[in-house]
Symmetry: C2
Amino acid sequence: MEYKISDKLAALKPSAIREIFKSLSDPTIISFAAGNPSPLSFPVADLADLSADIFANSSTAALQYSVTEGYPPFREAIRARMKEKFGIGRDFDETIVTTGGNQAIELCCKVMCNEGDVVVCENPSFIGALNAFRSNGAKTVGVPLTSEGIDPEKLEETLANTPNVKMLYLIPTFQNPAGVTSTLENRKAVYEIAKKYGVLIFEDNPYGELRFAGEDVPTYKSFDEDGIVMYCSSFSKILSAGMRIGYACGPQPVIQKMVVAKQVEDVHTNIFFQMLCYRYMTERDLDAHIEAIRGIYRDKAGRMLARLDEFMPKCVSYTRPEGGLFLWCTLPGGVSSADYVKEALARKVAVVPGTAFNCDPAAPSDSFRLNYSTPSDEDIDRGVKILGDLAREMFGD
Amino acid sequence: MEYKISDKLAALKPSAIREIFKSLSDPTIISFAAGNPSPLSFPVADLADLSADIFANSSTAALQYSVTEGYPPFREAIRARMKEKFGIGRDFDETIVTTGGNQAIELCCKVMCNEGDVVVCENPSFIGALNAFRSNGAKTVGVPLTSEGIDPEKLEETLANTPNVKMLYLIPTFQNPAGVTSTLENRKAVYEIAKKYGVLIFEDNPYGELRFAGEDVPTYKSFDEDGIVMYCSSFSKILSAGMRIGYACGPQPVIQKMVVAKQVEDVHTNIFFQMLCYRYMTERDLDAHIEAIRGIYRDKAGRMLARLDEFMPKCVSYTRPEGGLFLWCTLPGGVSSADYVKEALARKVAVVPGTAFNCDPAAPSDSFRLNYSTPSDEDIDRGVKILGDLAREMFGD
């Protein structure tokens, strides 16, 4: 039988990152490629205690079918926390629990876009989102990301000249992969442009709580008086990535359609872990736990930056993140990073080439992404030295 | 802002069953509406013990990101069990773990169908599948279900006259909602027709292991030498529905694209519960547990049938299931079941009207679905008497 794959999936390749992740079964490879939270960030003992109690006292509810929107007390706890800590949520907004943040991205695109419609994204952007848009037959159009955030002039030019733009996908804080946090001024300007063109802003904020230096910048959603922002975050980086619990808060008509779309994807998110998250949020000190994770990442990022300062030739530039999981390195003179990344892997250090994050997959990139949250301190020391030596060999000082 | 919802979602209504499920917060209502497994079927003590051990000894792997295809030892255990017990799987097949069986249905449609393509279904059929197809912009076309299975002549007529049919969706065993198990002769005939027209058969088998009377009929997948069958099942009805663990086995090129599509929906299924299922499968006696569940459902179905025989007027007919969770009742003289279902709810008994399962949502139905797995024995006795009295009032003997 000839399998006639749908147009949208026929064109879609597996994520380079997931593929690299699979190839990392070789234990001699030092990986700066993953986006994994540090295992040190999982509050194992607390989760074990609370799980035992759920099995003992709430097992029927925790193992039975539940409602698609999410476990009601959990939704309410998320809503209240977003409101209290970040000023997120108005009367016109609603909250949905999703199977990781990625599902919220995918559902929102499914709800907003017909095949051929356009999602405008920062370039570079998160590959999991780009492929979620493509898997629904939407086209991704990139607008350059500057050190202030997405370029407002080029954004307006793009919106003015591109038909059927339905969403503007942004990671404004500790952007993945580039590590940029956009300024408040930039956010206000971009908000007005999106409003003018009637385009929904999808604000993806999985790393926002992982700030270990500098000052918070208000989220788009915190000043969304017009109901044009869908906000999304998750527990992947602050409790456990493997449990797949995310959430979104946005205008009711869109959320309600996302509920309908979610119902036929997975009926609801694992209810046991929704209850477990809820119990952790309400019976343990989540804020103190997040503060401890920030300390871990402050140390990890500081260590990687110290080694980069020590070993990298000056011709290679890199961001100095104030939070999140990633550093973004750029090679000199606009040279493609492809050969460098390939040779680094041959020397047993895995990094992700910038091309993996391009809105146009055929476009070149002079950059690559480093993750500091997953590797051990020893691997950071050894791995960055290998990367530095290689850069010096290839590009001089 | 005007929210321009995509065409596919704009037309899609929330599932009537999920909506009824939400309305059941009134504890005085007797519900025969849900499709929930009996809470008695959850092996709570074993799951609690194994969970404690996972937290104690495998917490990092159980809480960290994992691979999209599913936890490798779990996939292998599923593959081996399908092969051994049901003769499922050839060299050209692969297995994927999904977030409940519904995700496998949705992913397969996304992989096979462009917007406007057609999925042919038994009429009536499972609403969660019909809406999954619609949520991807596919059209559903129904072919009548007889007591032998989907009508082969009408199926061939439909395939010969309908352009762009990409999938044939079937629940051959203990069909939801109609309770029909198609005969082997019917399956062989339908298989040949699908093969002739180059249409992938999606065999949804969530209830297959819940047979409490009669003899097993071989699955389509067990005689699929041509790679035209995608087989799907789940642990929802044999371990826990709330954990959302399903799986599919089918031709490699299709499964591999389903992995790509799943990657951008939820990255992977909750890994803790994949490990928990795996541990249960390999360290406890799953077959003995399933045998115990069959006993529960044999008793529940027997009780509901006894009460129906006692209280229902003879003019109302109903199926006598040999497994699964549902009975299908048909009112006399082709009368629409809408008024009856509405009046039953007013008398505090919830059932699902047959219209909820129609491929054409505007078509009428003279039937309704009863679930016997969820209600208590007392509720079965009281509820069926109310339904019987109402039928006698409305339709006489």
